[in-house]
Amino acid sequence: MTIHEATLSRRSLLKAGAGLAIGVYIAGGGKAFAQAAPAASGVNIAPNTFLTIDADNTVTVLCKHIEFGQGPLTGMATLVAEELDADWSQMRADHAPSNPALFKNLAFGVQGTGGSSAIANSYEQMRKVGAAARAMLVSAAAEQWKVPALEITVNAGVIRHPSGKEGRFGAFAAAAMRQPAPADPKLKDPSQFKLIGKEGVVKRLDSAIKSNGTAEFTLDINEPDMLTVVIARSPKFGGTVASFDAAAARAVAGVVDVKQVQTGVAVYAKGFWPAKTARDRLKITWDDGKAETRGTPQLLSEFRSLSKTPGKTVRQEGDVEAAVARGGRLIEAEYVFPYLAHAAMEPLNGFIKWEGATASARFGCQFPTPDHAAIAKVLGIGIDKVQLQTILAGGSFGRRAQQTMHVAVELAEVAKAIGPGKAIKLVWTREDDMLGGYYRPFSIHRMRGVVRDGKIEAWSDTIVCQSIMKGSPFEAMSMKDGLDSTAYEGSHEIPYEVANFRCDLHQADVGVPVLWWRSVGHTHTGYAVEAFVDELLEAAGKDPVEGRLALMGRKPRHAGVLRAVAERADWKNAKLAPGRARGVAVVESFNTFVAQVVELSMEKEGPRVHKVWCAVDCGVAVNPDIIRAQIEGGIGFALGHILYAEQPLDAGRPLAANFNTYRSLRIDEMPEVDVTIVASTEKPSGVGEPGVPPLGPAVANAMARLGVGRPRQLPIVRGASA
């Protein structure tokens, strides 16, 4: 049964009122309790349930997080199944609709996915859902069999009593609905886990549909009389439409209408090709009066000047200048990081149908709560009149969650502009997606360090970077003293003990929209810190691993992954082939600790990475194989970008429009990957992002050991095309 078939059966199930549905309400204090949910009402599918049990024993978990590869459908189902004592083969999962009261991310307070938080925030909550459902099933069986509930056991989806009575969940689902839900169901001791942390028992729930073409993404929505919309947007950020001539566009067969919207000019057509063809025939005069017109060389020069002056202090300990004055070897390094596009395989898009008084939208929506409100606001109707359903997305890397909700807003605007009653699919082309901004910010780190008598005496890091949060609805919650923590996270608290430390920030204003990008600030801070500490340790005559460990006295989890990876890679004794070298880096991000060792050689074009060893400590490892997959993917994603990727600006205009100029890693460049998951009893933390940050500096440090130096400006292979 596919995810979608499961949806249909659940719908009919609830309509018939024949199954068990469990919702969890989180009270103000954050204490979770379970309650039987009332029957579904309206058109939302089971709007207030996390779990349903079908008469055929199928258990379907509604996942409050979007699945775009990182595995929450499987992860949430694992947590529920563990406490429910279900058999993995009976588990299904589907996306929850937008409903912040029930489906909020407990780390955010609103419904949304990000910051590698899915498993971390759901770990107890979803286990309690499973435990409550188990207790209710047991109560129902006890009642029917007229035996004490305490004598009943549940194992692999079978409810049993020593008298020989047994049954499966489906047979008791309806009766379980009538049982009182335990207020605080008891959770298993981890020693009793049968699924969490176990190898080989949990398989991804979405592999089959993603291997036979039946998985439905937003681009695949195909409703009767649906119109496809493609928009011409300003080539420069901040440009607006001065005037346009749509005559040639309207002449394209299949075009239904052309409307001006806030972001540009929208073409409505029967199908993508006529919409795109017509869009390209629009004659538009843009008003660039408020547009960003600086190019990358100018930004680099401005950022560089700024970086030579002190910014606002983020954190300071001791006195860096006094330590410099005391002498020793002063080492300076400037690191430059380009704008990066997310370039998920599925370009941005969305589906909406506005009926005047109501609307329903569905797309790969990463932040349902703010997107939901944004759609309602544009359409001038209440949030309760708008249904929003998240569906599978073809990657995101941060792109499908925007602080400005611009995709949701644009989707609602194109629906509003043509009027009610139309099914609309908004599609961004690959070029629209790559040229459309919301990049990983361009930034510079200017590092200074003092090494004296084999010891790092001083460290300073002056960062110049745009703010992601400034001016957004998230500004109040994510900025401190006017400074955006996403610009300096990882730089202001380094794992190394250095007596004299300073991190300061120039928050530069540029008219290029920027956004979080897989591992956010750590994409650049991880590189700057780990390449620089390696350089200082080299100057101090220390081994990269031993030198780091000696400074990590107060950081046992950093040290733990570093020791683990060094042992796994046989760092001390490995005999490398001629022309090869290894580098190491360790970065904590999103409460997950990751150390990597890379082995590479230099080829004509640049480094070739042969193998990456990785040790990860993400607390309790819920789905080990998904953790490995995320680390493998994170390494490949990071490697492609540090080698090749850059979104350059020419007089404000982004240049890399497609994969021929924004080069992506390909299979022949993918290194062998060896993942060690460090055993831990700490709370689980995420793995979607933390595999990314250490790769770049580990490559840089290996290059230094080959004598070619640590790249100061990314990407490493400059001006690469595919």
Partner: protein, 154 residues
């Protein structure tokens, strides 16, 4: 606009589109088969890979007017023994992450096994490097191709 009859997965589909329309959009918006994906539109990423008379082509860059009577096979119609072996191996190793590129990956992988039942790593590199996976599932793609090849041995 013009009417074209396309033979896709053994069935005739009449589509009424401009002759310049890439085969991809005739398959998707015309025939309503959504398993073949749009990723780049310029034959760079391979997400749109289908077979044309048994050969892999990038359907985003092939005008529908050039298809003629050639037989098109999409992921929905992939029923060769190599195709089934590849799909089984993909599921066994949980290859997909976001999954969006995987139709194209699987079409390329099955085509490779059709002409080379025991590919080396180098053969896999050559056959598969036209298919981008932004999730970088390449480690598992490689392992699954070897796994599928092994399953076809006996």
């Amino acid at each position: 606009m013009a009417a074209f009859t396309l033979k896709i997965n053994g069935q005739n589909h009449s589509v009424d589109v401009d002759p310049d329309t890439p085969l991809l959009w005739a398959i998707r918006d015309g025939a309503g088969l959504m398993g073949t994906k749009y990723g780049c539109g310029v034959a760079q990423c391979g997400a749109c890979t289908v077979y044309l008379d048994g050969q892999t082509v990038r359907s985003c860059a092939l005008p529908v007017s050039a298809v003629g009577k050639s037989e098109v096979i999409t992921i929905e119609g992939l029923d060769s023994k190599e195709g089934k072996a590849v799909q089984t191996a993909w599921v066994a190793l949980d290859v997909p992450q976001c999954g969006y590129c995987q139709s194209g990956q699987i079409m390329s992988a099955a085509a490779l096994l059709g002409i080379n039942p025991q590919p080396t790593d180098r053969d896999i590199d050559l056959a598969m490097n036209g298919n981008i996976c932004r999730c970088a599932t390449y480690v598992r793609i490689r392992a699954a191709i070897h796994g599928a090849a092994k399953s076809l041995e006996g």
